[in-house]
Amino acid sequence: MALTGPVPDPADARTGRPTDPADLTARPVDPAADDETLPCGASLALLWEEGPAPDHASCPHCAAARADLAALDRTVRAAVTAHGDVPDVAARVMDLVRTELRPGPLVPLEEPDGWITETAAARLFRQAAESLPGVAAGSCRVAAVSGRTAARGRLPREPLRVRLEIAVDLSRTVPDAVAAVRERILGAAAQHIGLELTAVDVAVVDLLEPSAVPDRRLA
């Protein structure tokens, strides 16, 4: 058995057979590495957001998955209501489920054929930013410095930039806050991921009232 050398570009034509013999007849491997597909080939994310695809109107896989997602939604909302009115939590849980369906592109690690989801990296970077008092982190995206977009759900193995939006209070000047956050993100990327970022863009998009401290317990 040969140990792997450099892994061929995933953009190469691939055919794959499902591993489960109980699955339906062989179908092409879904090109988006991060898109959940049901055994019938339908995208779970699209099913949830838009309903069954036209040619899957009577598909048993789609019907069952949709029923389960609806049941999940009902269960979460019921559980939250039973524990007191924290409507935000239900939304956040369902956001987590959606995130699992669409975790964003895969970010390449130094390790050959090692990847981290943009969602996991972004969460780390947001936490790193919010470790500074007076900073609330918002949208966080990872992209190639070159501007090349993700192909087949994967960012290219190239220098990467992180863009993070933050809100800050007035305890620091904006340039100081930006510099401090940038340093935390570079450090977190190196220490916890092993990722060397080429650029970190921090955009201050809002000012925090002194009392608007982010509730990190729910982060």
Binding site: M1, A2, L3, T4, V7, P8, D12, A13, R14, T15, G16, R17, T19, D20, A22, D23, V29, A33, E36, T37, L38, P39, L44, P60, H61, A63, A64, A65, D68, L69, V97, E100, L101, P103, L106, L109, E110, E111, P112, D113, G114, W115, I116, T117, T119, A120, R123, L124, Q191, H192, I193, G194, L195
Partner: protein, 110 residues
């Protein structure tokens, strides 16, 4: 006799090896593993997917996992890859003529 082992056995061997690596918190089963399928599929290994390929002739093992805080994701991914190769080599020596690749996706740092 070059008979490829059952894909499910490969997945189980890979899962066992990966689970033994310090820094692996848990496997990340896909949502489709957790939702009840219309047709029951026995014996799926959550977070581990084995895909035989024809062009080029290769067996791809795809592992999704969460990394425990305090461990560096890249190092864990490397250790998992090496552990899986070692385990497959030990259990199925000289059985395959095909190349095997192991890809690891970190879905969370917990």
């Amino acid at each position: 006799m070059n008979r490829a082992p059952d894909l499910r056995l490969i997945a189980e061997t890979a899962a066992r090896a990966a689970a033994g690596v310090p820094g692996v918190a848990y496997f990340s089963p896909r949502l489709t593993d957790r939702l009840r399928p219309a047709r029951p599929s026995a014996g799926r290994t959550p977070g581990v997917r084995v895909v035989p390929r024809d062009t080029p002739h290769r067996t791809d093992i795809e592992i999704s996992l969460a990394v425990r805080g305090g461990h560096q994701a890249t190092a864990v991914a490397r250790d998992v890859r090496l552990a899986v190769f070692e385990a497959l080599h030990a259990e199925y020596p000289r059985v395959w003529a095909t190349e095997v690749t192991v890809s690891i996706t970190v879905t969370a740092i917990v």
